[in-house]
Symmetry: C2
Subunit: 336 residues, 2 copies
Amino acid sequence: MSVESAIPETMTAVAISAPGGPRVLRPEKRAVPVPAEGEILIRVRAAGVNRPDVQQRKGAYPPPPGASDLPGLEVAGDVAATGNGVERWRAGDQVCALAAGGGYAEYVVVHGTNALPVPHGFTHTEAAALPETFFTVWHNVFQRGGLAPGETLLVHGGSSGIGTTAIQLASAFGSKVIATAGSAEKCAVCVKLGAERAVNYREEDFVVAVKDATGGKGADVILDMVGGDYVARNYAAAAVDGRIVQIATQGGAVASTDFARLMVKRLTHTGSTLRPRTVGFKGELAAALEARVWPLLAMRRIGPVLDMIFPLEQAWRAHERMEAGEHIGKIVLDVA
Amino acid sequence: MSVESAIPETMTAVAISAPGGPRVLRPEKRAVPVPAEGEILIRVRAAGVNRPDVQQRKGAYPPPPGASDLPGLEVAGDVAATGNGVERWRAGDQVCALAAGGGYAEYVVVHGTNALPVPHGFTHTEAAALPETFFTVWHNVFQRGGLAPGETLLVHGGSSGIGTTAIQLASAFGSKVIATAGSAEKCAVCVKLGAERAVNYREEDFVVAVKDATGGKGADVILDMVGGDYVARNYAAAAVDGRIVQIATQGGAVASTDFARLMVKRLTHTGSTLRPRTVGFKGELAAALEARVWPLLAMRRIGPVLDMIFPLEQAWRAHERMEAGEHIGKIVLDVA
């Protein structure tokens, strides 16, 4: 293990003291983790907050085997130490990374291939807001959904962290974007980020709006985190040969739909979750992002949309805000 | 147009005199069709009977725009005449072909690219049993489902025309096959054709059987024509990263299932129907089949499973038999 400066033995981390509401998130003293072969230890400066953290806090989404019990799936900070076999990073490097857990802490270990350089000119707060949504959108919209230039993407939850990332990436790569969101303010953000059309789902039927905006053709790719009655409506809003990618089922997992429509329209309904994937898979995603997307970030052609920043110790407030659903873009914890 | 021998002006065809039961299928005199540019006129010797013909007879599956109102989606016979621009075929050539309709007749026109040579040594009856199931299985199992050597295919309706073709093709290309069927006799046929395990769905839960036969892993590809409550059970029987391909919904189109399972297992649920595809698409499929599958037919490594043969005029009996569900393999009309 290569170390630059003194690393303490203990650190402050925010743990889930028991399954429950936001207030179960409590600061604790924990041992600083030690990087194994291929891993790096990051001195965390900022950590992103994501919906799976909320699920984990409620006890509904247990960490995968071997992962930290602490919440937190993405961080930015300085490399503090490197395990054997890590060639790319040295102590002091500024990185942002996908973590298998443990991000709500002063130190976290991640696999070296799952880290990326902080884009030029980005703050730690901005950089910590990147990994989860960019890894998720790149894989689900472009790799799994196969969105091509000129095609139309329908993205639900357009003002969420995932939504704001999907709108920007799809627009940057030459697709037309239609987004749904729950207020006029959120819709305005979607349009500002590049959506050609934003649908306030409280006032308008997105199926009608999508048909209208595509000359009756429908959306080629749909990114959905709602499920429930959206499944049948997504099948209706999709174009022939359309792809629907499910990344959450916040509106209900079990739903009824017409599979003859899936067949006759030759739809492809698929989905995935990021956390259980192998470090190797995440490393390949990181390499693709660094090649294709990191240059756009450095040029500020796209960037994270930040909602609010809370101190690490007040992670419970971050969860309260996420559960209230009023946020636009990413909620981040400051760990400096 | 190039013609070898005298072609009559009228022919016998079996038409749908009105939507209804098998007896609405009645012989009629019709004008012999004339091949347009790129098309060939086939003197039909045998015609395959398929489930979409039954649906069309009932009025539930209207022919696509421009197609013949006569039933019949596949034939074998002699090329009687060729339209302008047809280079490959000459009058007298023995072909089998996918038709957009009109196969229940003494003559039919098809696009030249949608015809294939009768495999060496095959009778017309055997050759007429090939196009629908081989085009359907090749596209849905291999192209759409991406079945790879070493993977496991679960095929429902294993003793049907589609099922017997899927079992043989998947086995020939190095996959392990599990089939479901509704009787011990049908299960025995599935095993004889290459299925490693046949599940009598009246006596056994296929989900349990598939898990058992794959060491708990599940099926990599599932070919389903049932739908209804099979959808949720297919999601349960599928392996992680599994693909489910829907080619009919005979058990009901609208069904409820758990889409969190689709997401967590990273399933891909897709489907298609063959008839509305373009002649260009069907031509590409024909070329792939001729290169990859026709040699296996000529070697008799695989072949059609024939159930019963009825004279053209008794097409109604063929439909009765198909609707009774007792058949094993293909039902064919003799038009000689």
